[in-house]
Symmetry: C2
Subunit: 387 residues, 2 copies
């Protein structure tokens, strides 16, 4: 019952063959810099191969060829944006692919690439079931007061302007894992999850459903991230156009690519680099980390408006799993929730072991839980294959 | 010791003569629609007078003439933006006026009008002391992690891009009043204030200092307001430019003037109208109120990251003072702070009496405290006149 998981981005195509029961990865790889002279296909355990100017369809064929005789029961496609069409994973047919295509205005870099990847995979494996798993689907349970912007209502009707949220598979996965760790039913818990990777978002989950999240129409809203600003004053865009002579596209690019940890520190978007630099007295690295942790704490507290109580706070993602100091500094801004950090547990748990990082008598329970988005996609795909 | 308080906007000029000790208003009025054929000077208790095309300087002269022989000890000017120059009210001289003028890029509608008004008043009353009281000054105590955006650092150095905050005189005034009501020293309390008028902002105050606030570079950031969107996904601006064919200025205007309660309801920016309509089954008025209260609760909780505990939550401004249902609905989203509303007290207190609206055993103490920005300006002016 191996599942092939495919994540087809604008210039890259990641894949992994996973046994969703054992969680074992049989083979995985990435085709990157597609459509460029430097295009490259890397497959573990097979090795690397330069294939200049290879496109999405040909990369897909090469990947599928590389699988050899590993049996595949189904293919799970990661899709960034499902708009309001999809509130759960879906078995793909022409209608579903057309709907994913219809969301292209909402995710112009991602959805067209997904459609290309899905079509190529369907052509190569017409007899296999294909499933789409959406970053947005889990958040479709948000109530209107959480997903409506305070904008003219017509923008929602005509242009689907609303808050969608992302990282849904990760938020759900780590919240379910937390429920197991806490030995409570997922459907009775009230949890806040913080997914901190290159992109960062937090989510309020009540009785198994997403009630609110920090990302919105696009993955730029909310927390400070690696290169993304998160929230700014909406007047800032015009202010920068007027004051710097950049056009709106350049300003928007600046907010997406040159901001966040990278912009503030002037050094790197990599949290490891910043923590090291701050230790060596780099004051702007220190500032970037400060802003990151404070904004995260604000985001977490704001989401508490969607809950009656907070049974657990979960850290995950590259930063959330690996960085004990970031977890500690974030809790330091959550004094109103009276957390008591257990420094030993905070150092002991992380990427390799999930577990509690606060003391047993802490008013706030905080956990670290490693995420595994590929595994969620494999499991979702398997679930939809069952009759 | 009467103080003349002047609030000189882009197309209007408000004034009041106040005795800061008795808090009595001796005379007040407004010159509005300046530089238009419909320009009008209204003075209480004198009456109205049409003066077509009157400008700021002439309106100032007419207002000063209308004061008759009421003795004036000093003039207090409300100034929206003090940038990083002013962390307190200031006795005006040429240098200070030049600095207010230098902040014009940050408040292009307001600061040039303030400078015009200040110069006109100084010419008419050269012998009187003039004081500027800033909306931003109280928030200059915010720590860097609260005032830095996650943007390239250079934008701060070159274009003064940072969070400033507004409504500072109101936040400080109601927090001080609350300290008196609670019979505790202002400098030992940790308070969140919510100023809810046409513009809305909340502020975290610790030991007498503003630690964070929801407005930022301009008064558009943060909460949902009468016609302003508050926070949106920063990618929304470019999305709307691309999808609607509007240019960036039109989109920015839409966020400032056609959004908030007005945009969502399609009905009004006036909370009274919306509450009435919602009672009569208007579903979009209901949605607008829902979004307003939920966003306010999120804003309040987010600010708690700046505090160790919340000694009191204060409601003020036209909506905060007058609307018991809005206060109740906001508290309903603050369950994690365990407030217990006292319905009788919530109905009894408001515009005319400050007081507690939660029960004595409520874990969260909430108060309503009427604001009085003119009185603060009069008192600040008087304070600076003392040798
Ligand atoms: N030991 C560590 N300490 C701090 N940050 C770490 C550590 N290991 C990885 N990270 C950070 O994790 C982030 C990447 O997270 P990841 O979840 O892998 O990203 P993506 O969102 O691309 O999946 C980077 O900022 C990286 O610096
Ligand atoms: N009784 C009331 N119930 C609800 N809202 C009210 C009531 N009275 C006034 N308001 C609201 O107060 C807001 C204006 O607040 P105000 O502080 O006067 O504005 P400004 O920010 O212009 O000073 C309007 O939305 C108005 O509807």
């Amino acid at each position: 019952h191996n599942i092939l998981v495919i994540n087809c981005g604008s210039s890259s195509l990641k894949f992994a063959v996973i046994d969703p029961e054992s969680t074992q990865v049989l083979i995985q790889g990435i085709a990157e810099r597609l459509n460029s002279p430097d295009a490259l296909l890397k497959v573990q355990p097979l090795g690397s191969q330069a294939i200049p100017y290879i496109n999405h369809a040909k990369a897909m064929a090469a990947i599928l060829a590389s699988l050899g005789d590993i049996p595949i029961a189904g293919i799970g496609h990661r899709v960034v944006h499902g708009g309001e069409f999809f509130s759960a994973s879906v078995l793909l047919n022409e209608d579903a692919v057309a709907k994913i295509d219809a969301c292209r205005a909402l995710a112009p870099l991602h959805n067209p690439a997904h459609v290309t990847g899905i079509r190529a995979a369907m052509e190569n494996f017409p007899e296999l079931p294909h499933v789409a798993v959406f970053d947005t689907a889990f958040h479709q349970t948000m109530p209107p007061h959480a997903y409506f912007y305070a904008l003219p209502y017509d923008l929602y009707k005509t242009h689907q302007v609303r808050r969608y949220g992302f990282h849904g598979t990760s938020h759900r996965f780590v919240a379910e894992q937390a429920a197991t760790l806490l030995d409570k039913p997922f459907t009775e818990l009230q949890i806040i999850t913080a997914h901190l990777g290159n992109g960062c978002s937090a989510c309020a989950i009540k009785n198994g459903q997403s009630m609110d999240t920090t990302m919105g129409l696009t993955p730029l809203e909310g927390l400070a991230m690696g290169t993304r600003s998160g929230d700014v004053d909406p007047n800032l865009i015009q202010f920068l156009v007027e004051q710097t002579g950049r056009d709106i596209r350049q300003v928007t690019d600046l907010l997406n690519r040159d901001s966040g940890l990278l912009g503030l520190s002037g050094l790197s978007n990599d949290m490891r680099t910043l923590l090291e630099a701050a230790d060596n007295g780099h004051s702007r690295a220190e500032l970037a980390i400060d802003v990151f942790c404070y904004r995260l704490a604000k985001g977490i507290l704001g989401l508490a408006a969607a809950l009656d109580r907070i049974d657990a706070l979960i850290f995950t993602g590259g930063i959330g799993e690996n960085s004990a100091p970031i977890r500690a500094r974030t809790l330091a801004h959550l004094k109103v929730l009276k957390p008591t950090l257990d420094h030993d547990l905070n150092s002991a748990h992380g990427r390799h072991t999930a577990g509690r990082i606060t003391t047993t008598d802490s008013a706030l329970t905080a956990l670290v839980v490693p995420t595994n988005e590929e595994l969620v996609i494999a499991r979702e795909t398997q679930r939809l294959l069952q009759p």
